[in-house]
Amino acid sequence: MKQFEPVIGLEVHVELLTKTKLFCRCGTTFGKEPNVQVCPICLGLPGHRPSLNRSAVEYAIKASLALNCEITEYTTFDRKNYFYCDLPKGYQISQFFYPTGTNGYVDINVHGEERRIRVRQIHIEEDTGKLLHQGEIVDSADSEVDFNRAGIPLIEIVTQPDVRSAEEARAFLQKLRTILLYTEISDCKMEEGSMRCDANVSLRPAGTEPLGQKTEVKNMNSFRSVQRGIEYEIDRQEALLQKGLQVAPETRHWDENKGITKAMRSKFLASDYRCFPDPNVIPLFIDKSWVSHIQKELPELPESRFARLVGLGLPAYDAELITSSKELADFYDSAYEHYKDAKALSNWIMGDFMRLLKAGNLGVNESKLTPDNLAGLLSLVDKGTISGKIGKEVFEEMFTSGKKAQEIVSEKGLEQISDSGELEKVIDSIIAAHPGPVEDFRNGKTQTIGFLVGQVMKETRGKANPQAVNQILTEKLQ
């Protein structure tokens, strides 16, 4: 047993996909040239008045419901006061007193062990601007700030300190991302910063209750670096504690290149935020009927979808893979409406479809293949109109052209030949052309029939129905 147990709480910031910012009507597009998505409100110019974007609240409610939270009936938008050059107003507006959601949870599975990570709260806040420089801002005389991001709505998801390892932290984040992608409130791109994760890490002697001194680890910009950053921090703290040293309460910066966390200089005046409700934004009552309307519109979430797919007869592995993305699961469901062999469908989707998507670096909805066209193809194969092998060729063409399977099959004359009269002619000519193998077969080397079937298939360019060929050949050779 390990001497110390890690206790980890996560704070995840997720940028909402609203078309406009939280308190003004500026756009929220990522990657525009600096300071084009700005106005007097998000620049904090004198005399500006914020007016709340209700869809941000709706998105936050949606996320809170998806994470099993209770929704507050009343909320204020509060000022968190501090000076920093990326903060135009000198305060950040945040739901400090009444978060949108509280007391939720996310269930994760790590190495077959079910773990419940409780979500303490989900609150809305404004994003800050972005510094356009390297190095430490407090020491720099000249720096530039891009305010395009300032005022974009975020939700901050705060967990209870329920996470016990770096791996669990990663699993939680991945599960969180999947769920949030289902709700379509965010694109959750860690590399673009639309999902950011800070971790509060502390260690305590295994088997004890009281929490040890924590540090906050920031700047982990991918799932992998979250895991690495936390792992490093756990090891660092463990080494200190084993030497009888103390962990300093500080914010530490994950350095991806060096693979270490470094103590950050703290922001001055940052400890006393003097939060109070913003007198320019009126309190908001969240109507129960609004919440239940949002609840009704919530899509089926990964867990219940997984259970449903398993219920259709899919192996857990297939169901897990298909529900890992909402688009894929939606694709599967639409195809299933027209084609009821659950496993055959998942074979095609997980096999050829995923392979071609990957090869073309495409998203699920970026190929020309539609779910009902896929269902049509599989029905043709099942009916014996085309063989499975031809099916794969047809599939590739459908993927790029968007044509229906039947259309391709007719155009190219790919129908399987099952007509025994037609097949007999071909088979007779093959028997005549290959007296050797025929002789062998009749002498008891029955495996040579495979060669002969192959010749028939070749002659018919794959269109012959293999079962029919087998049957006729066997009859003729006896």
Binding site: P46, R49, F83, N280
Partner: protein, 467 residues
């Protein structure tokens, strides 16, 4: 050039009657305004670019913390010396649509913070009734001197009403939410409203009509409900118990107020004393809330995106140098007070204490207004202070807001109306009404003003000035 024997209002009327040309109007205007400014330091900038189309137009002034595009908006502060707002305050846009034309932007305490001294980074405004006294604001001096029909200014703890009282004017602070604050560079968002001052209640009402109304981009605005009028024949007015035990109340102001009460009862209007234990707490309560909000509101003056900047060795140094050098003494004191009142355990002990007082004051006043149509109070405990007392008057520091800040704390409409004199200097009394009862308040104010000799002497004074 016209003869200088008309007020700005008369000039605009002559123009509307086509007696003078647009050019003549503008030239004469500027001439009169410059004279008013040179006498009383009333203006920070003049606006001669107003457009004049068909229909009647009315001259107005606005305090220089109200943003108007293409003009400077300095807030009376060095930090905004060259600042031009990219947008116009919604209230002013509305007023322009109603025919108001801005002739100038008026002097004010820096950011409105300064206990009604009328002292900015640029100048200190003098009182047209007596040049050795303070006017309280450039807006009040400009209106008193006949510079416009109506003046628009902010009132957070009573500044607008105090200045109106110092200058013998009617001054109205509307119900919180009646007038949009978008484009007002306010310091205390939860207390502040843009209000109107004018020589008469009718002009005040006209000005109010110009600026009030719902603004979809200021969520604190509200649509005024219908049926807020009161039956003038059955009016009941309350005056507050211990109104006369207020710090700094002068004998003369007390006398004018008592005379007003007497005049009301002789007019068969019922007046009762009502219990109200909070008068000793109002000024400090408003001061704490205003200070904490201004500490936060003025945090955007960081030298980064607008306004003056004083370079420093690093970011924090730049903040400190900019704010130290470009904010005036009183603003810095008040912001420091706000920082202190909200810091650490003071947050609970002072800021939350003030919020608790505020709720109690609101509840108590609303309770009284169920029974009474209006509450009557003096406006300021004293008349316009001498210029020489500007920096050493403890009354000015501590007592000026006692009567006025009640209405700000409760979000209620209040009007000051000239009611008498202390020697040469006018004295105002104040009426507080129910939410959105501005029409009734102004009707009542008109009645009171008619009983007072101040408006007549104001007209005489303006005539002397314009001759």
């Amino acid at each position: 050039m016209l003869e200088q024997k008309a007020t700005i209002r008369e000039l605009f009327e002559m123009y509307s009657n086509k007696a003078i040309s647009r050019q003549e109007l503008k030239e004469s205007c500027i001439c009169i305004l410059q004279k008013i400014d040179s006498e009383y330091n009333a203006f920070i900038s003049f606006a001669d670019n107003f457009s004049i189309e068909e229909g009647p137009v009315y001259p107005c002034v606005a305090a220089d913390n109200i943003c108007v595009e293409s003009l400077k908006t300095t807030c009376g502060s060095e930090i905004l010396e060259e600042y031009e707002s990219p947008f116009t305050a919604f209230a002013m846009e509305k007023a322009f649509l109603q025919g108001f034309r801005l002739v100038g932007k008026t002097n004010l305490d820096e950011f409105g913070i300064g206990d009604c001294r009328g002292e900015s980074f640029y100048k200190t405004t003098l009182n047209p009734w007596s040049k050795d006294r303070l006017a309280g604001s450039g807006t009040a001096a400009a209106i008193a001197a006949g510079g416009a029909v109506a003046g628009f200014a902010s009132d957070a703890r009573g500044g607008l009403r105090q200045a109106a009282s110092f200058c013998g004017l009617v001054g109205l602070k509307p119900t919180y939410g009646l007038v949009s604050r978008r484009g007002l560079i306010d310091y205390a968002s939860s207390l502040d409203q843009i209000g109107v001052m004018a020589a008469t209640a009718d002009d005040t009402a006209f000005g109010l009509e110009g600026i009030s109304g719902l603004d979809s981009k200021d969520p604190t605005t509200q649509e005024a409900p219908a049926n807020t009028d009161v039956d003038i024949s059955k009016i009941r007015i309350a005056y507050l118990q211990d109104w006369d035990k207020v710090n700094g109340l002068t004998k003369e102001v007390k006398e004018v107020f008592e005379n007003t009460l007497y005049a009301l009862s002789s007019a068969d209007i019922e007046t009762d004393v009502a219990p109200f234990p909070y008068l000793p707490l109002t000024a400090i309560t408003a001061s704490v809330i205003g200070a904490v909000e201004s500490f936060s509101n003025l945090a955007n003056f960081d030298g980064i995106r607008f306004g003056k900047r004083v370079d420093g060795d690093h970011l924090q140094d730049m903040y400190i140098k900019t704010r130290t050098s470009c904010f005036g003494k009183r603003v810095k004191e008040y912001l420091t007070f706000g920082a202190l009142m909200s810091s650490g355990k003071n947050y609970k002990e002072y800021f939350l204490w003030a919020q608790k007082n505020r709720r109690a004051i609101y509840k108590s006043l609303m309770e009284l207004l169920k029974e009474y149509d209006f509450i009557i109070l003096p406006t300021v405990p004293f008349t316009a202070p001498l210029l020489s007392e500007k920096d050493n008057s403890t009354e000015l520091e501590n007592a000026a807001d006692t009567y006025t800040s009640l209405a700000n704390l409760a979000g209620l409409p209040a009007v000051t109306v000239p009611a008498g004199f202390n020697g040469m200097m006018p004295v105002g009394v104040q009426l507080i009404g129910r939410p959105f009862s501005e029409a009734a308040l102004l009707k009542m104010a008109k009645m009171l003003a008619e009983k007072s000799s101040v408006p007549g002497r104001l007209r005489d004074m303006q005539e002397v000035l314009s001759s």
